[in-house]
């Protein structure tokens, strides 16, 4: 297959295998970030909500996005920071408001560890992706001679995430960036199922990563 045709087929498959996604981002910053030297930013997910828990895959995706978009900024991953600060950022003890960071830093050993890590900002991620309105029917059969599926399934994908930025030195909230992505996934099957998945989580990750990366990079 010549390269042009291969590219065309790849592009067609990519479009065919992805459902349509609409994403929007809203930003509310109280003040600009003021990073200097090799001050670090930590990406954390909120684990205290009994109902909503951000997926590990989302925080890993966001971490990768920020690494590529704000390459000069020292970004510390959630796992590393939680281990370095163990156990003060476990769900039982993690501060729930920016002001409470000051209380935590009153403990000299904790303040010393934060100073060693040179952490300036905490970015708390809260939100998740969900599938709603599942509809349709699909029947699959399997026999020694073979198998196949017939029918169609569809559902709505919705991803809502919010990033709250705290200044750990001042113990103050700096702002919030929120993103929402929606789309409809469809899986038609006439023999072989052809999943057309609306990747709203990925769209949210990219849009939030872009916005946050721009803010961090100044």
């Amino acid at each position: 297959m010549n390269p042009g045709l291969r590219l065309g087929v790849t592009a067609a498959l990519t479009v065919a295998l992805s459902g349509c996604v609409t994403a929007r981002v809203e930003e509310f910053m109280q003040t600009d970030l003021d990073m200097s030297g090799d001050e670090a930013v930590v990406i954390l997910t909120n684990r205290q909500d009994a109902v909503i828990e951000t997926e590990d895959s989302f925080s890993e995706c966001l971490f990768g996005q920020l690494r590529s978009r704000a390459g000069d900024v020292n970004i510390i991953s959630e796992n590393r920071f939680k281990d370095e600060m163990f156990p003060w950022f476990e769900p039982r003890l993690a501060p729930t408001r920016a002001e409470l960071v000051n209380v935590l830093l009153e403990e000299p050993v904790i303040a010393k560890r934060v100073e060693d890590l040179n952490v300036r900002y905490l970015v708390w991620i809260h939100g998740e992706s969900e599938a709603r309105n599942k509809q349709g029917v699909m029947t699959c059969t399997l026999s020694p001679a073979g198998g196949g599926c017939l029918g169609v399934l569809s559902w709505d994908n919705n991803s809502n995430y919010e990033a709250s930025i705290w200044d750990i030195q001042a113990g103050e909230p700096m702002g919030i960036i929120s993103t929402e992505a929606t789309g409809t996934s469809v899986v038609p099957a006439l023999g072989v199922p052809l999943p057309l998945i609306a990747r709203t989580k990925n769209a949210s990750c990219k849009s939030l990563g872009q916005q946050l990366g721009d803010i961090l990079a100044g």
């Binding site: 828990e53 163990f86 156990p87 769900p91 403990e107 073979g146 196949g148």
Partner: protein, 212 residues
């Protein structure tokens, strides 16, 4: 001779079905993996020498479901976590052979014995959520250096983890790891205060000591 002809157009589907079937079997029979390495707690140690006793029931604890479908070893993992916690909480820790004997010759100020009273978990089907939820009910028994039980501190550690498509046991292992980390959080934030106030010197009979 009979020749079996395969219909090539169905080959990928067969492979897919075979893989799914294999994955399902692995998901049912897989092992529960709990994190091996726990970080050192960031805490200012108390100026005490603590004797530490782990009973065989604690250090060799194996979780077994009633039907025997799921069995996994938890004892050494939780002992490793408590070693880290006690090692960080006290200036010195010394293993003692028994908590209810005269341990003054070891030069300890008090003796501690963690007891796992109950390990329980709920699957996503039971909670109607997307999570495995683990609870670990502990009791920290406090003894004087003379071997007299003087108090106990009960607490429950919790952990949860999102269910995975194929291997539910991996989620259970992660949820258990989170619960063990939560146990460390409870010990460092609350139990430290109990010891700091020297509440283990409470009058007999043993009383439940409260967090500060």
């Amino acid at each position: 001779m009979r020749i079996n002809r395969q219909r090539p157009e169905w080959q990928p589907l067969r492979v897919l079905c075979a893989l799914l079937a294999a994955a399902t079997v692995v998901g049912c029979a897989g092992t529960v993996v709990i994190e091996e390495e726990f970080p050192e707690p960031v805490v200012q140690p108390l100026p005490f020498s603590a004797g530490i006793y782990y009973s065989p029931q604690f250090s060799q604890y194996v979780y077994t479901e009633e039907e025997g479908k799921l069995t996994f070893e938890l004892g050494t993992k939780q002992q490793a976590v408590y070693d880290k916690i006690f090692g960080a909480l006290f200036e010195q820790t010394i293993p003692v052979p028994s908590p209810d004997q005269d341990n003054s010759s070891y030069g300890v100020d008090l003796v501690l014995e963690p007891v796992l009273e109950e390990y329980a978990f709920l699957s996503p089907a039971e909670t109607a959520t997307n999570f495995y939820a683990v609870s670990m009910k502990y009791q920290i028994r406090l003894y004087s250096d003379q071997g007299t039980i003087v108090g106990y501190w009960p607490f429950v550690a919790y952990g949860k983890d999102r269910k995975r498509f194929v291997n539910g046991n991996q989620s259970l292992g992660e949820a258990t790891t989170v619960a063990l980390r939560d146990a460390a959080a409870a010990m460092v934030s609350q139990f430290k205060g109990v010891v700091e106030k020297q509440q283990w010197r409470a009058p007999l009979p043993p009383t439940e000591v409260t967090s500060p």
